[in-house]
């Protein structure tokens, strides 16, 4: 029983990381109606940025949280502006912008393999003062970096939800998400909103990169692990839903961690896919999704 509770705790903390990754993906989908296949690669960029920042300057890992996300915001903003927007414009008439999906896949290939060219295929990790620290909660052991990650993930989700509710930009994002034509007519520049959404989504990938790096390996194709999980999570929680992403992340983390107590970890992966398909068939709109979206 102790092992199961310990696995549950670990699952919740890892699930929060999946949820944090899915948060950026769901934000971009919610506003643009595009599944961003490059999202895992953007997480990888975030992880490498945090890795080099900490490695080269020796700052405290969590100070990177102040530096990496803004950089990633501008990276995502420019990427959307220069690469994705033109394709989007060309496909303006199409309700389902499938070509855009393929462009993001191209971005994924380019980013992952650029990282491979620059940094090689080896697994890297930063050993910091907090990497191996943990605290005891009764008889259970909680790793400090993972716990901090969990806290940051929840804080990011709450912060994003507040941002979407309270600020003018957040309202513009939500308006565009609901009806891009109507938002256009109200004087909202649709493409500028897309840039901001993509930038924010990428910045969140940067946040995830910063909190992952003290306890997770970084390598060029690390994004794929999180990508597939993030896809499953956003469908589980409802594409475009912020609480759905976090809750979906926790569910997937729990399934992965608890099931792996009883069977080979490769089987838990198969179970995750199976659950995903069942959800798609039974309730494609997910926990909190919008019925009109699917």
């Amino acid at each position: 029983m102790t092992a199961v509770i310990q696995a549950t705790l670990n699952g919740i903390m890892m699930g929060a990381m999946y949820g944090l990754t899915a948060l950026g993906l769901t934000l971009i989908f919610g506003v643009m109606k595009v599944v961003n296949f490059a999202h895992g690669s953007l997480l990888m960029v975030g992880m490498f940025s945090a890795y080099w920042l900490i490695k080269l300057t020796g700052i405290h890992p969590y100070l990177a949280l102040l530096i990496v996300p803004p950089i990633l915001y501008f990276f995502g903003y420019s990427l959307q502006d220069l690469v994705i927007k033109p394709v989007f414009k060309a496909e303006r008439q199409v309700r389902e912008p499938l070509t855009v999906i393929i462009v993001t896949t191209g971005v994924w290939y380019v980013l992952d393999n650029l990282a491979l060219m620059l940094f090689g295929a080896e697994y890297r990790t930063v050993r910091t003062a907090i990497s191996n620290k943990s605290f005891a909660l009764g008889q259970f052991i909680i790793s400090i970096p993972k716990f901090s990650g969990f806290v940051v993930a929840v804080a990011t989700a709450v912060g994003l939800a507040l941002f979407m509710r309270k600020t003018k930009i957040g309202m513009a994002l939500r308006a565009t998400s609901l009806d891009r034509e109507a938002a256009n007519l109200m004087g909202i520049d649709q493409y500028k909103v897309y840039n901001i959404a993509f930038g924010l989504g990428t910045a969140i990938a940067g946040i995830a990169g910063c909190v992952l790096i003290p306890f997770y390996y970084v390598y060029p194709s690390v994004g794929v692990v999180f990508d597939i999980r993030a896809f499953i999570i956003v469908v589980l929680g409802g594409l475009g839903s912020i609480p759905g992403a976090l809750l979906g992340g926790l569910v997937i983390g729990l399934i992965e961690s608890v099931f792996s107590q009883f069977m080979a970890s490769t089987w838990t992966e198969a179970i995750i896919y199976a659950i995903f398909l069942v959800i798609l068939f039974v309730k494609p709109s997910g926990f909190f999704g919008n019925k009109q979206d699917w």
Partner: protein, 338 residues
Amino acid sequence: MSRKQLDTSLLTLAALVAFGLPLVVTSPTYLQILILLFFYAYLTTAWNLVGGFAGVLPLGHSVFVGIGAYTSTILTLQYGVSPWIGMLLGGVLAAVVGVVIGLPTFRMRGAYFCLCTIAFAEGIRVMVENIDYLGPLHVNGPRGLLIPLKEASFWHYQFMSKLPYYYIILVMLLVVLALTWFISRSKIGYYLAAGGEEPEAAAALGVNVANCKLLAMALSCFFTALAGTFYAQLMLYFYPKGLMGLDLSFEIAFIALIGGRGTIAGPVIGALVLRPLNEFTRIYLSDMLPGLHLVIFGLILILVMLYKPQGLTAPLAAAYDRLARRITRDTTPKGEAA
């Protein structure tokens, strides 16, 4: 010379070149590259039946390649059935699986459909990697299956040289191209195009969009599975990650999009552009810098989508049209032109 004569003679010339190419290309390495080029053109043409005409973007077709390869190989290894028979059985099995998947998923919108096909294909791959025995069938988990060398004969689908493989895949490609041509000119083809663009409008006009899509899916999966058997017999070894991974599914979609999805020549043009590029950059650049060839691959994809979102076939067809008009005008007497 009329336009029709010009078209026919050029097509005949292309076919002659394709059939005669092994006379010039004798190196097994280059022959293998050509075989793989046709293999990918074939796979993409089969994908195009549903991905091009039905207006959806399936990203899990590698699973059907896997069904084909596993069906024929397990039947050959354990029951001594000729791969030719196993190939047809695998095709039928893939078509059935395709319809079962298509029934619930064709109701979905683009993004959900994409994610669903990916999850399905990856789920099956992970399961195959975890299964050693499925009932009496020896699947051999992540290690994959090795086909032992038997006597070279047509019945065993094993040959001494690459040449028979070349002609087999060429004929397969021509068959599936002819089928695509036939479908694009049939009622079903028009229904598919209508259903892909405006499902509601097409349904309102009495088109059974769902049934057309299911038929396209069944055909597409059937032909995709045949390629699986071909691959197994060509390489004599395959394993789940290499054969059924996302890479293959994505590459098929890339070739289709760069060539131009929903066109007959698109998959062939896409394969003609991407495959040699892929092979040669891999051979010459991957030693220099690992990953460089895939960066180039991704950049080309992005550039084509930026500047020619409809793929390369439409501008090439327009250029050919201009050229053909000039030629036919030059050589036909006055009054017969146009």
